[in-house]
């Protein structure tokens, strides 16, 4: 049978009523865990694995697929509404999404995230079905030096996207990089900056930092401004649905996000977070409305949300073609395969086509189900914004604390949450951007490790970094991204950038 008929057969299975029920359960659970900060899809799939022993192969795969895509999508809801990212890949969504919500445009922000996730999920799943064996060859070309060049590009574009005050942006970035040093050094196993606290050995959890900086920092900031503006900012103005202009600004961002997310997700050391950063930087550079960035630009939600969902599908490329799980969730799905007597590996497409195609068909079904579930829910979600401000922020504090403690119930975690929340408040007070701190924490260790691996392989010769064509091209792009804004500023567009920089908080 050819690819197409396998897919049709898979779809026929996936559309049986009982399978649709499993898909619904999966996406509902997935969305729920995506919404709760700290509880990730990996843990959920692990907990559900015993439950699926009672189901047949198709049923459990469909449920996994639903959880997987649902988790990716659910994180955006809290990012947008509460400024509390549930997963590291949703951090960037909070930047523009929460601004939109506070400007009364929560409905369109959630809609563009949902539809963007759907479009990206659909395209990326089809790419997975038809191109996986080819994409994986490209992904394997990426070694440590190419990854390092990719990280440099991400650093430069993301930091350069934070406006005129380069110094403030860099200060924030370096705080993040310093925090990233905490814990055991992967390459030598030696401890750095942990001060004998065992909980610090594994470094600082990204979600703890993100939740503290975004949610706690903001709650403190709002509280410090005193009473007087209760509810005024948060009322819903305008339409719940996306306007024609929203659509026309979103669709290109969705496609670009998919184009960035899928290949980066396919790389064994890529990941949805890098994809979302690069998508944000791209949208910010290409937009016709640069003045809106930092104040709630819809492209800044549409692109990264599409990118993180496309990356989620991309992650399955190495899993299905090489048997390489590149995320914790993928690793548990692999355990799920083994329970059906499958030996995942490069031969999986050949030895178990029915299961592979069943999974791909399930992903398509889960993706549709997610849209069906979430679009009508937007009406209810945005009611949250009608809650009077003191109540809302009180709720956010409880929610953020419980979520963080839920994963890691230790006093150290709670202390970190409070300290970083205070830091976030102070940075807001003095006009330092928050996002570069989180970006530094996520990208810092990856960049450091890949650089050291590259130099270790070349036995210390730095020229190795530019001797690979891919790395050289990526570094050249990074150089352009660094120099171009300087030229633009010199030519008088600095005013716009400065304005944007100040609006960022």
């Amino acid at each position: 049978m050819d690819t197409f008929s396998f897919l049709l057969q898979g779809l026929a299975t996936a559309f049986e009523p009982i399978m649709l029920l499993y898909a619904l359960i999966g996406v509902t659970l997935g969305t729920a865990v995506g919404v709760l900060p700290g509880i990730g899809p990996a843990l959920t799939v692990a907990l559900l694995l015993p439950v699926t022993y009672g189901l047949d192969a198709a049923g459990s795969l469909i449920m996994f697929a639903g959880i997987y895509y649902g988790g990716m999508y659910g994180g955006s809801t809290t990012s947008i509404l509460l400024n509390t990212p549930g997963e590291s890949a949703s951090v960037i969504t909070a930047l523009e999404g929460n601004k939109m919500a506070r400007a009364g445009r929560g409905g369109p922000a959630l809609a563009t995230a949902a539809i963007g996730s759907f479009v990206a999920g659909l395209i990326a799943t089809l790419l997975l079905a038809f191109l996986a064996p080819h994409v994986v060859k490209l992904a394997l070309v990426f070694g440590p030096r190419e990854y390092f060049a990719l990280m440099v590009l991400a650093f430069v574009t993301v930091s350069a996207a934070f406006g005129e005050s380069a110094i403030k942006g860099l200060v924030s970035l370096f705080i993040g990089l310093a925090l990233a040093m905490v814990g055991i050094d992967q390459l030598t196993g030696q401890t750095r900056l942990a001060f004998g606290v065992p909980q610090l050995l594994d470094g600082i959890e990204v979600t703890t930092l993100a939740v503290a900086m975004f949610a706690l920092g903001e709650a403190l900031f709002v509280a410090a401004q005193g009473p007087g503006n209760d509810g005024a900012v948060l009322a819903i103005k305008g339409r719940v649905k996306m306007t024609a202009q929203d659509w026309s600004r979103s669709w290109k961002a969705w496609l670009r996000g998919t184009g960035i997310g899928f290949p980066i997700g396919s790389m064994p050391a890529g990941g949805a977070d890098i994809a979302s950063f690069l998508s944000y930087a791209t949208e910010r550079n290409l937009t016709k409305h640069p003045e809106e960035f930092g104040k709630g630009a819809i492209e800044g939600v549409a692109g990264p949300e599409a990118a993180n969902n496309a990356a989620a599908a991309g992650t399955l490329v190495p899993l299905l073609t090489l048997g390489l799980p590149t995320t914790a969730t993928a690793a548990i799905m692999l355990a799920g395969f083994q329970q059906f007597g499958l030996q995942p590996g490069p031969l999986l497409f050949a030895t178990a086509p029915d299961l592979v195609w069943g999974l791909i068909a399930s992903l398509l079904v889960a993706n549709v189900m997610l849209l069906v579930l979430n679009l009508p829910l937007i009406r209810f979600w945005i009611l949250l914004l009608k809650i009077p401000q003191p109540w809302l922020y009180g709720g956010i504090l409880v929610f953020a604390t419980l979520g963080t403690l839920g994963v890691n119930p230790s006093p150290v975690e709670l202390t970190m949450l409070v300290l970083f929340g205070t830091l976030g408040y102070l940075m807001r007070l003095y006009g330092y951007p928050i996002a570069p701190v989180v970006v530094g924490l996520i990208l810092g260790p990856m960049a450091e490790q890949q650089l050291r691996r590259a130099l270790s392989i070349s036995q210390g010769d730095p020229m190795t970094l530019v001797q690979s064509p891919i790395a050289a091209v990526l570094l050249a792009l990074a150089a352009v991204a660094l120099i171009l804004p300087m030229i633009l500023r010199a030519r008088g567009r600095g005013d716009v950038l400065a304005q944007v920089g100040q609006a960022e908080d």
Binding site: Y53, G143, D185, L187, G189, P198, Q199, L324, T326, A331
Partner: protein
């Protein structure tokens, strides 16, 4: 029945409490007419969901409930630092509680040493070794190196020029390369070992021809070897493995035998009766048909070893590991 999984319930993870297994467990208990010991157990997997320790803990959970060894088993994950974060928490919170178990393994032995962990395996009550896996050495299919001797000779000629991709620094893969270098008369501090985080990153680097050789658990590489994308040069077991076409390291003339084993330990401060009860339950688990089937399904070797034999073996391994980590230069 899967709808039961509302969130709070899931977090507590009464996992396999679904009908089929509960029923099956009850049937087994009734059939054997045993007085239900019905020890409730809580197993800590000191790692993230998805890894080897986590799947060991969850498989134990399944089998212990299905075989009626325990009526309720919970699994908790405390990830971090090669298991030492979980170990520290376990020692602090579980002392004297016979219902608390922790899963661990060889990687933990190395991690305790390299992290200068304040707690060690001497602070828990080791019960039994359950499974184990040999370490495999591979090269990419396109590599000019044909056998383990060729690889070791290249390393002897210029240790820095042979880059090894494997798991975490100071882990079982790293230790094996160190032992191999030492056995071949190469200075172990000179080896060029490149640590990758788990989840296939090392495999990707090998497939992409980024490194000279790869070293990891046999199970991780076997599918690639069967597909012809990697060449298997040697395994670290004490004897040839059935169905695997590669010599052992000792056969090739290097006196190195390494097994990446996984074990279960109980809380510190147990009375002799409590320890005997836990040991009896674990023995029942290891001998059960359900466990044997699970091992076969997952491709894990049965390396059950308990009591004084296990304790002696453990002490020996800790001593050897300390020596080689000092030789590599990871431990002062």
């Amino acid at each position: 029945m899967p709808t039961k999984g509302i969130i709070p319930d899931m977090i507590r993870d009464k996992g396999g409490k679904h009908m089929k297994h509960a029923l099956f467990g009850a049937m087994v208990a009734a059939a054997l007419a045993l007085p239900a010991f019905a020890n409730d157990y809580s197993i800590m997997a000191p790692a993230s969901p998805g890894g080897g320790w986590d799947s060991t803990a969850r498989t134990m959970q399944e089998v212990m409930q299905a075989e009626g060894i325990s009526s309720s088993v919970q699994v908790t994950n405390v990830p971090g630092a090669g298991g030492t974060v979980g170990l520290a928490q376990f020692v602090a919170s579980a002392s004297g509680d016979p219902s608390q178990l922790i899963v661990g393994g060889y990687v933990m032995v190395g991690a305790i040493l390299t992290n200068a962990s304040p707690v060690s395996l001497a602070d828990v009550t080791p019960i039994a070794r359950l499974t184990g896996e040999a370490v495999a050495i591979v090269v990419p299919a396109a590599s000019p190196i044909q056998d383990i001797k060729g690889l070791v000779d290249a390393m002897a000629a210029d240790p820095g020029a042979v880059s090894w991709a494997g798991g975490s620094a100071g882990g079982v893969d790293h230790i094996t390369v160190g032992l191999l270098a030492k056995a071949a008369g190469v200075d172990p501090t000179k080896i060029n070992y490149i640590a990758f985080s788990g989840g296939g990153e090392a495999t990707a680097a090998i497939l992409g021809n980024q490194v000279t050789a790869g070293i990891s658990g046999l199970g991780e590489f076997l599918p690639q070897v069967q597909a012809g994308t990697m060449r298997l040069l040697a395994v670290s077991s004490d004897a040839r493995i059935e169905g695997v076409d590669a010599p052992t390291l000792s056969e090739a003339g290097y006196d190195v035998v390494v097994q990446n084993w996984r074990m279960v330990a109980a809380a510190p401060g147990l009375s002799d009766e409590q320890k005997a009860q836990v040991s009896a339950d674990i023995e029942k688990l290891a001998k059960s048909a359900g466990w044997q089937k699970a091992l076969a399904d997952k491709g894990w070797a049965d390396t059950y070893l308990a009591g004084a034999d296990f304790e002696a073996q453990l002490a020996k391994e800790i001593e050897a590991t300390t020596a080689i980590l000092k030789d590599i230069g990871l431990v002062q």
